[in-house]
């Protein structure tokens, strides 16, 4: 019976067990769950162990958006259960596939329902209408579910309207493997009660009763007490009987193995320029002068986990592909929100988004990729945003705000009407420092003040138009910021690409040697040879196509690497950069 029970729906908690920011410890058929409600109302039912070292997540911390493990502070996102941050390696973005096992959750009849391998939807329970029910306190019983069900058939209780009476007439309306429906009648008073039995383990159960009528105040307390007393007596009887027979062995839950790739060491995921996801434009609105906001919802299922700093490729109806940063705060996983600025010299990207794409349209997007990861071990984090450069930094600032980590978001814009995503900015409170209507010289002076007091342990993130970004990086260097503390993301690469060189590329792991002629990129040549190379912007700005250089001198033409990384010569963006030496050996 217990085998078949795995495919059924069972109650695992009362809705009122999921208190604000609490994590409830549930169990079904030997398997433990961490059950928590996010601030957006979503009920998460997860395997009760952190994927890292097996610590119960039911002792973790629910911050309303994410669940944080107590042992090493790993953070898992609401809804997707994907890991968004590993504090031991603050400079790395966690491999996206570190995702906890989730189980379906349905809230109905005042209870939270789940199933290990559900067959079909949660069936309707006859006699219980949603809305005016009373869920009783769960009564744990140390006995197998079938023994409890057997006893419940003889359960006697008074109807709500005659709770102090005696001798109500009880009818069994229905009885199944894991539930008994009873009707109690005393004169005119009548109450229908369904008593579900949650099989916690082979020898443990919880009785979860639901009555078809609610009550208020003292009457409600009387009803709850009435059932509490009678069900507790029933429990004592069942437990006495169960103690006389040998108890069945506890059910050993089987934990899924993690993927072989994760068992090694988390590495970067490799994807080509693919658009695996389909989303609908749930909302399109003008969030600032010249900037449209888009809320993208999945057509089915849930969106993959994103981290602050991540971007998606949006494949547009006109065939263009553009990258947009996700502006969401942590745990906001039901949709992706992006901001698109209408570029005056648009080649069709932003123009298409502004003029053609409408609410209800379907778009193809890539999975989120994070080449601009946020460290959270900084003593103080400074964000410097110029114009639409706000988008990745907004996601980052919301993450730090959620964790109470010290930060400032300096937002440079032409005027008040150019500040995008006012609701999100408001959430940041005093950390937001707008700088409006400044000339380039004034901007420089302001930047100099902002980055004036560098101390070891601080980090600076910059995103904005090229000239401003260059200025900010230069000023930071002058003020003593080391390259390792300055992180930046360009919108696009405005360098003039010189593709006149020709050279040889040896791919060490693939054991092939290729000729790269003038006019073709390393990436194009690799793809022509059937080698799958991940890419996104394909202009040297986003960092997706990075490769490790084993030998040879790269000719960097990208804007992703910082000066120290360029000098080191160990990384190359294969979409634009080339070789100064006659030969390059790459770790591909």
């Amino acid at each position: 019976m217990l085998e078949e029970a795995r495919s059924r729906w069972h109650p695992i908690a009362a809705a009122h067990d999921l208190q604000f920011r609490h994590v409830f410890h549930g169990q079904l058929l030997g398997r433990e769950f961490a059950v928590w409600r996010a601030d957006d109302g979503y009920v998460n039912i997860w395997e009760n162990r952190c994927l890292h070292r097996g610590v119960r997540l039911s002792i973790g911390i629910n911050d309303g958006r994410e669940l944080k493990c107590q042992y090493h502070g790993w953070r898992y996102s609401n809804r997707t259960a994907g890991c968004t941050y590993i504090p031991a390696h603050p400079a790395d973005a966690p491999a996206r596939t570190i995702t906890n096992r989730t189980f379906p959750a349905v809230e109905r009849y005042g209870l939270v329902w789940s199933s290990e391998e559900p067959r079909g939807e949660l069936p309707d329970v006859i006699g219980l209408a949603e809305g005016k029910l009373l869920a009783l306190r769960g009564i744990p019983v140390n006995a197998p579910a079938d023994k409890v069900v057997e006893r419940l058939k003889a359960y006697r209780f008074q109807p709500n309207g005659a709770i102090d009476g005696e001798g109500a007439e009880i009818l069994i309306d229905a009885a199944q493997d894991f539930a008994v429906a009873l009707r109690s009648r005393d004169g005119d008073a009548q109450t229908h009660g369904v008593f579900f039995v949650q099989p916690v383990d082979s020898n443990r159960s919880v009785i979860r009763g639901v009555l078809d009528q609610d009550a208020e105040g003292a009457a409600r307390i009387d009803i709850l007490r009435h059932h509490n007393e009678r069900l507790s007596k029933l429990r004592d009887q069942v437990e006495r009987e169960a103690a006389n027979v040998p108890s069945p062995a506890p059910i050993e839950p089987v934990y899924e193995r993690v993927s072989a790739e994760l068992a090694e060491m988390p590495g970067m995921t490799t994807h080509g320029r693919k658009a695996a996801l389909r989303v609908t434009v749930a909302r399109k609105w003008q969030t600032a002068d010249g900037i449209a906001g888009f809320e993208l919802r999945p057509i089915k299922g849930i969106l993959p986990t994103f981290q602050p700093g991540a971007h998606i490729d949006v494949h547009m109806p006109n065939g263009e592909i553009r990258q947009y940063s996700i502006t969401n705060g942590p745990g906001e996983t039901d949709s992706f929100v992006i901001g698109v600025k209408l570029e005056r010299d648009s080649k069709g990207g932003s123009k298409c988004m502004h003029e053609t794409v409408r609410e209800g349209d379907v778009l193809a997007i890539s999975e989120p990729r994070n080449n601009f990861p946020l460290r959270r071990d900084s003593t103080k984090t400074l964000f410097v945003a110029g114009g639409i450069g706000i988008t990745p930094l907004l996601a980052m600032a919301q993450a730090l705000k959620n964790q109470d980590l010290t930060h400032e978001l300096h937002y440079f814009a032409q005027g008040e009407e150019h500040l995008a995503f006012a609701d999100r900015l408001k959430y940041l409170g005093d950390a937001l420092k707008p700088h409006l209507g400044l000339s380039p010289d004034q901007t420089g002076a302001e930047l100099r003040q902002i980055v004036a007091d560098y101390r070891n342990g601080m980090h600076l993130y910059i995103c904005g138009p090229g000239p401003m970004l260059e200025a900010a990086r230069k000023i930071a260097t002058e003020q003593g910021w080391p390259d390792t503390a300055v992180h930046f993301e360009y919108f696009k690469n405005t360098n003039k690409i010189d593709d006149s060189s020709s050279f040889e590329v040896a791919l060490a792991r693939s054991c092939v040697t290729l000729q790269v002629p003038a006019g073709k990129t390393i990436m194009q040549v690799m793809r022509e040879s059937g080698i799958d190379v991940p890419s996104s912007c394909e202009q040297g700005a986003c960092g997706t196509c990075v490769a490790t250089v084993i030998e040879g001198e790269p000719d960097h033409q990208d804007v992703y690497l910082n000066d120290a990384e360029r000098k080191a010569g160990t990384k190359i963006m294969t979409c634009v950069s080339r070789a100064k030496s006659a030969r390059l050996v790459l770790d591909i």
Binding site: Q70, Y71, Y255
Partner: protein, 296 residues
């Protein structure tokens, strides 16, 4: 649960009690590998260990057949249910005369011995479990360190370990990186060396010796061998007991309680290099007790 059938574990020396807490002549009962044992110090102060028996009330009258190997080392009574090696692993610092040697505590913990060893080797949890003592957010990074399995000494050695500590010592007012070296010279014992606040050239030694009560329960004996002439015993002990008291609820909430040796059972990161080496080492030794071996 069946009693221990693991020959490697049966043939090891295991700690069963602190000498400092034994009253000469008084018999103490304990459990090792699911066997009930008794021990006492004889008139010469030497430990005598035997399988518990209602007729045997003291060390003088233990029948030879019930006697178990016994030794007194590093301040503890050690015994074995099999044929133990002649020597126990070495902690040379224990012989240095100017060190304070204390049993900081003996704690019962509902977890397997290997899970407790991994916790002892782990630095990433300092800011979360030992907040404001051994670590503090946002200083959460575990920097690169080196791990080797020493073949000739048959032990794991992790060196160049550094971690930011908010109160590196009583003498410093700001945080600083503290250096650690970890050794695992015995499947259920580990020794750490930590920068001494008193003497830059030397290191404090802290060891954990786990007494496996059964596969999922241990008694953890904590040895301190430190350079400290100022603080009272109880102050030094209280510090370690605070630390251990913070680890205990985490350890008791790890599932499964036995350590899974299958590399795909859990998700390692670079910070777990020493734990990965430890799991491999246990696998290579063919250990089955207190672990979930890799399925054949």
């Amino acid at each position: 649960m069946t009693k221990c059938l693991d020959p490697v574990i049966l043939n090891l020396w295991h700690p069963i009690g602190a000498i400092a807490e034994a009253v000469p002549g008084a018999v103490q009962d304990t459990v090792l590998l699911e066997e009930r044992l008794s021990f006492a110090l004889n008139a010469d102060g030497e430990p005598v260990v035997w399988r518990s028996h209602p007729d045997v009330q003291g060390p003088a009258r233990v029948p030879a057949a019930d006697r178990l190997p016994a030794r007194s080392t590093y301040g503890y009574v050690w015994t074995s249910l099999g044929s133990p090696p002649a020597e126990l692993f070495l902690i040379p610092e224990y012989e240095e005369p100017d060190r304070r040697k204390l049993n900081a505590a003996t704690f019962g913990v509902n977890v397997s011995a290997p899970r407790a060893i991994e916790n002892f080797l782990d630095m990433g949890h300092f800011p979360y479990v030992h907040t404001d003592i051994l670590g503090v957010e946002p200083h959460t990074e575990v920097k690169e360190y080196d791990v080797e399995i020493s073949v000739d000494r048959d032990e794991i050695l992790a060196t160049r370990c550094r971690f930011f500590q908010p109160m590196a010592s009583t003498a410093s007012d700001g945080g600083a990186d503290v250096d650690y070296v970890y050794r695992v010279p015995h499947p259920y014992c580990s020794v750490l060396y930590k920068s001494s606040p008193v003497d830059e050239a030397r290191r404090d030694v802290i060891a954990v010796f786990l007494q496996p009560v059964d596969q999922e329960h241990v008694r953890a004996h904590m040895l301190l061998c430190v350079l400290d002439e100022d603080n009272e015993d109880k102050v030094i002990k209280r510090f370690q007991q605070t630390i251990f008291g913070q680890d205990k609820p985490i350890l008791e909430n790890q599932v499964p309680k036995r350590l899974p040796l299958d590399p795909r059972a859990e998700t390692p990161i670079r910070a777990d290099k020493s734990a990965i080496a430890y799991r491999r080492w246990l696998s290579q030794k063919g250990i089955t007790y207190g672990v979930i071996p890799v399925a054949a």
